[in-house]
């Protein structure tokens, strides 16, 4: 033991910690399935934070454990330890290292945030399917509108995610309006007048969700997409994503919205382009029945509004009646 010099120990521990952290960052298995292109970017950010975090965790916990064992009071020793009150270079070192790490992490997370469309939310107009670019009210990074005189938060701002900067003016392939209400999600497809309790999207399509809330705040979350955006009464919010894996994934309400908040769940179905077209055509064919109800949803009670879809959504009529009483 005594023959091995300290620098060699440090080196060995350093290499071991690095390898272990790198391995764990790739193999933590903590995340659910990845089903959107945005999820790939966010997971890379998470994985690198896991690597960094694991390394720091091991070093810190190791140091604490080492102290506990090595520097415990020995039997009968009632004396004090050495009177060391500080060490300026050491303190500068451990202030500088975390500073550099968090600045690096900040830049990296900014990059990811930009790529998932965080800088230009709702660049394409929100208004129920009409796609007009808001030329006179374009939010820029920094929050100023293009005129340079606009308020920091423009009156008609859309919050959430849009397209990444390089194709900020590209319209989404598909727009769906999402409405949160106690305790259900309603998805309306402006093209074709489809209303559904589940979200259907084709794989590979650039989808924009225009999110709103009827009663209280809800939050639209698809864990497999790694994306979440609150649905806020009186505010327009949006999410934009490209699903990259077929399958059914849960849509979860993540903001406390009342007694049955936990049951405010539905699913998103990512179809192949052909399946999506088939679903779309089938639903458009049913439109007449839907249209009569969909004309003025605001004038109807939640019960009336929801009941045609209750079968399909697997929600029992009585439950809806109960809920809308609240």
């Amino acid at each position: 033991m005594k023959q091995i010099p300290a620098p060699l120990w440090t080196l060995t521990i350093g290499v071991a910690v690095t390898l272990l952290s790198l391995w764990y960052g790739q193999n933590h298995g903590l995340m659910p399935e990845q089903a959107s292109e945005q999820a790939v970017l966010i997971d890379e950010l998470f994985d690198s934070m896991v690597v960094m975090g694991t390394a720091l965790f091991l070093v810190m916990e190791g140091a604490i454990l080492y102290c506990m064992i090595q520097f415990r009071q020995r039997k009968g020793d009632e004396t004090d330890g050495p009177a060391i009150e500080g060490n300026l270079p050491l303190e500068a070192f451990w202030t500088a290292i975390p500073t550099i790490l968090v600045i690096g992490l900040g830049l990296y997370s900014f990059q990811v945030f930009q790529e998932i469309g965080g800088i230009t939310p709702g660049h394409v107009a929100h208004d129920h399917g009409t796609m007009i670019a808001q030329a006179d009210d374009t939010p820029l990074p920094g929050g100023l509108s293009e005129s340079g005189k606009g308020p920091l938060i423009a009156e008609n701002s859309v919050f959430g995610l849009g397209a990444p900067l390089e194709n900020e003016d590209t319209a989404a392939d598909l727009q769906v309006n999402v409405t949160g209400m106690q305790y259900a999600w309603i998805f309306t497809y402006p093209e074709g007048n489809i209303i559904d309790g589940e979200l259907h999207v084709p794989i590979g399509a650039d989808v924009q969700l225009n999110i709103s809330a009827k009663d209280v705040i809800h939050s639209f979350w698809v864990p497999q997409f790694r994306l979440k955006q609150d649905a806020i009464p009186g505010k327009k919010t949006a999410l934009r994503f490209i699903a990259n894996k077929e399958g059914n994934y849960p849509v979860v309400c993540a903001e406390l919205c009342g007694g049955y908040h936990g049951s405010m769940r539905t699913q998103v179905i990512v179809h192949s382009p052909e399946d999506y077209q088939a679903w779309h055509d089938k639903r458009v064919a049913q439109t007449p029945a839907v249209e009569t109800i969909a004309k003025a949803p605001a004038d109807l009670s939640a019960e009336e509004y929801l009941s045609p879809y209750s079968q399909e959504m697997g929600v029992n009529r009585d439950l809806i009646a109960n809920l809308s009483l609240k």
Binding site: L30, P32, L41, I42, L45, F46, M49, G53, L56, E61, A63, I64, C67, M68, R72, Q73, T79, D80, G81, P82, A83, I84, G86, N87, W94, P98, V102, I103, L105, G106, S109, F110, F113, G118, T120, G142, G143, I153, F159, D215, V216, I217, P223, L227, Q229, D230, I232, P233, G234, K235, P250, V252, A254, E255, L256, G258, G259, H261, G262, S263
Partner: protein, 552 residues
Amino acid sequence: MTQAELPTSAEVMAIPTTPPPHHPEKWKWYDYFTFNIDHKVIGIQYLVTSFIFYLIGGLMALAMRAELATPASDFLSPDLYNAFLTNHGTIMIFLWIVPASIGGFGNFLVPLMIGARDMAFPKLNALAFWVTVPAGMLIMGSFFFGGAQSGWTSYPPLSVVTANTAQSMWILAIVLAGTSSILGSLNFIVTIWKMRVPSMAWDQMPLFCWAMMATSILALVSTPVLAAGLTLLLFDINFGTSFFDPAKGGDVVMYQHLFWFYSHPAVYLMILPIFGIMSEVIPVHSRKPIFGYKAIAYSSLAICLVGLFVWVHHMFTSGTPPWMRIFFTISTLIVAVPTGVKIFSWVATMWGGKIRYNSAMLFAVGLLAMFVFGGLSGVTLGTAAFDLHVHDTYYVVGHFHYVLFGGSVFGLYAGLYHWYPKMTGRMLNEPLGKVHFILTFIGTNLTFLPMHQLGLQGMPRRVAMYDPQFQALNQLCTFGSIVLGISLLPFLANAIWSWSRGPQAADNPWDAKTLEWTTASPPIIENWEVLPVLTEGPYAYGEEPAEASANT
């Protein structure tokens, strides 16, 4: 203006041996139930009252964990579940951690540590405590009206449309608790500024007092904003205003800004005094001076300052524009630096020491171990891009329980074991303390570690029913919470039994250097017969005993 009402330190020195005639020799048990103006009585009133609320809040948590043992909603009604989750958070923050750490330890220790006979404004101090009593009664009483059910955040519109009477009582309770906090903070700032013994320079002040100074400044700046936000909410609920009603031109997101402008700093209100406790407990039981005194003192102030500009990280998925999400990502990440400095300094304090493993030190080291984890998960949450996934999930619940339970509550326990002999004049039983520590440490990790995975996998927070795929991990959490519940038994038995039957404590049982150990245990009513004179720093361990040896 305050100067006139204050005895200056010099005057206090001039009349050391004439105790005011209206004081008895020693407080009787019933004095603790009166409007007593002795800072030590008030400190113990805070500690005992808040501990009772800790037990109540803990029972609510156990009921929630019982509900979550199965995916269906089958143990509590959904409304009661929401009332428990709302009031569990409220009680643990406003009626346990804040009053115990600031009101309890702050009041008991600050005058003793700086060599003062009392706080600057003793009557205001007593008032601040007694204001928390109706606050507690309002919270408990709100359950007769269903209990507030919109979370401790009480976001409108939900808070405006749910359980109006209970919600209004809840708001009044928080405003009262906030008032108490403002009164207390003023008192601490003036006391620390003006009432130190003349021989104590700023850089000889115990770090706990630095932490209390930073805490008080933070509370003073941020609490009025919360009070304003909640008052507007109260008006919306009861008087038909529409500050937060979007249908009538109100703005729900504005409430979130008002709320979090206070409530993020509230996290630091709950942890800065605990950091102060750590900086006292670790050097004493490591038998070494604190490492980097100035760095620790200034990092408290840095956390206090930066902590005022991070609140939007609770709103990354709300109605916030891109520049806010980016700016607050950066500011949030920066808080990690001064926090890291403290952790490194404590480990360096232990390094090379001769660590005594009594219960106080075990809880302090346990805090270090868990706070490292809670801090790291906090950094991940600070990045807006990743937060889009985990915001409002169990990942967040896991994170803040590592910080607030693994951090604050462990710190409070460390403080209780460390200063119990000073407060009561009795020693606690060490083996029982160790059992308490082991059960608490295991229980904490069992309860809160799996929550991170639950959140990442897709379980949102504040739900009474969940997807069956999450059942196994939830049962692990529930099992852990039972261990935590049981862990309280040895502590309660120990604390209650030792108060009357424990072995007598010496004036300075840990051989510590701060001034509170220079008086009797428990301290006499005016703290000292003759005010102490500082002969050495608060952490002068490991030096050759020179003139300082006369301490004990």
